[in-house]
Symmetry: C2
Subunit: 283 residues, 2 copies
């Protein structure tokens, strides 16, 4: 049982009401070995204290969430975003995070020029990639479900994220595969195989696509097993692509957030065993 949980990581968003110390303690109580850290709760206690807490608990940091938001048209806003990402890279280095997840940003207010927004993302990544590489941090571009193209992330497919990532050394830029964001993609199998060939999978996140979709699209993610995603198939594909890292559970959902976090973690563990690693396609 414990061995099967070895790769399971609690992304902090799943237990959104917990501070970072609370989340670290919750991981320890649950017998987990890895945590995905968010920058806002990290800032509340500072990187030094966080590092000490996480080390004392014997946890890995599977990812730091998040950098990105590189689509501003205004030059000074774009430079501010670069500066913010440099700080995020510093934090990721200090925590020895497996990757820095990059949510690249949506269309700027009033703009309908999607190709231009995507071009600015590429420009920003070109600025950040060598710095990240120097710090031993890997940027993980996150292709986001097209429900978020307008307001959150203009990288909409794994193929598009790989087109960008592959312009840089693989130790500088990879992709994060989030089942919720990519499950619908008819090119999923082909693009994950490609990601394997170019050694680009920097992270793997799971949560479910549920219907009817909750009213708030940002909080529309479900616990694994409550929706339509075949996680075993996804795990087979990322495994075939050479990914052996942590499997992070990241759930944005008002009901999950309102529940007792320890109970959420318990359900997460059971579902992970039942429908992710324990399903017919699971490893």
């Amino acid at each position: 049982m414990t061995a099967s949980l070895e790769r399971l990581s609690l992304n902090q968003k799943t237990t959104n009401s917990w501070t970072l110390p609370e989340a670290v303690a919750g991981c320890v109580r649950a017998g987990l070995h890895s945590i995905g850290v968010w920058r806002e709760p990290l800032a509340e206690i500072g990187v030094e204290r966080a590092r000490a807490l996480i080390d004392d608990a014997g946890l890995r940091v599977s990812s730091l969430c998040r950098g990105g938001f590189l689509t501003a048209t205004d030059a000074s806003a774009f430079e501010s975003a670069i500066d913010e990402n440099l700080r995020a890279i510093d934090e990721a280095a200090s925590l020895d995070a497996g990757c820095l997840v990059m949510v690249v940003g949506g269309l700027p207010e009033g703009s309908r020029d999607l190709p231009a927004a995507r071009a600015r993302v590429a420009e920003g990544i070109a600025r950040l990639a060598p710095v990240a590489g120097d710090r031993g941090v890997r940027l993980a571009l996150e292709p986001m479900h097209p429900i978020f193209t307008a307001d959150r992330g203009v990288l909409a497919t794994l193929g598009e994220a790989l087109d960008l990532a592959e312009q840089f050394p693989s130790e500088q830029v990879g992709v994060v595969v989030d089942s919720f964001h990519v499950w619908w993609d008819p090119q999923l199998e082909a693009q994950l195989a490609r990601a394997g060939r170019s050694n680009r999978i920097a992270g793997f996140q799971v949560c479910d696509w549920i219907t009817p979709l909750p009213a708030d699209a940002l909080l529309s993610r479900g616990m694994m097993g409550d929706g339509h995603i075949d996680f075993g198939h996804h795990l087979q594909l990322v495994t075939a692509a050479g990914y052996t890292g942590d499997i992070e559970v990241e759930i944005f959902n008002a009901d999950v957030w309102a529940a007792d976090p320890d109970a959420v973690v318990a359900t997460m563990k059971q579902r992970y065993l039942d429908v992710v690693v324990g399903s017919p396609g699971g490893a």
Copy 2:
């Protein structure tokens, strides 16, 4: 002014409270020349009467909505769907519709096997395409926004729809390009160019992607100009791909449906002139 409205078609869903006779009369009052007909209001008055009404009004039928729903795993349910599509083909032939829009169906209840659902769609289209061809009806596969992959349409991209359509003669199977469904696609330009080369664009629909997304995902479409889509760019692309047919406005939106339909049609005409054909990219 009248000339600029020549290609504008009112899809009945935009004025959802109108019967078909009311919608035909509304088109005439508004000086429109084309209508997209739905099967349910068509059934209320019968095909013969509808044909006479539409002919008397001097309208074209840009599309019949809709066939599809071909993903059932149960053999008798699949055969029922085939039969229903054969009836839809008959109706489209009787109305001399520009195409029969195919919403192919989502995952069957309890299934997470997306590749299998897609395979059944291909099987269904293979059964229907030659029949449609014999009746002079063109099936228009509708790639749907990935927000609908689970519960409405497993064809998620233009590329995927073309992969399927191109297995059949172009007069039998094409695609319908709906801005709402495809606007986010990083391959939009490349796939529309491909659709032009293989002569596959059977229809072009417009409505906007608005944020925040309305609570009911099915009713989340906005009037052109209220959201994030660059319609002029889309019109340029479909025009470059050789499409010269009608431009249908199809809006599923509770606020639009609650408004006075004549006022909706007036707004639709103005927005069409301003942000579709009249925008910098427009024709």
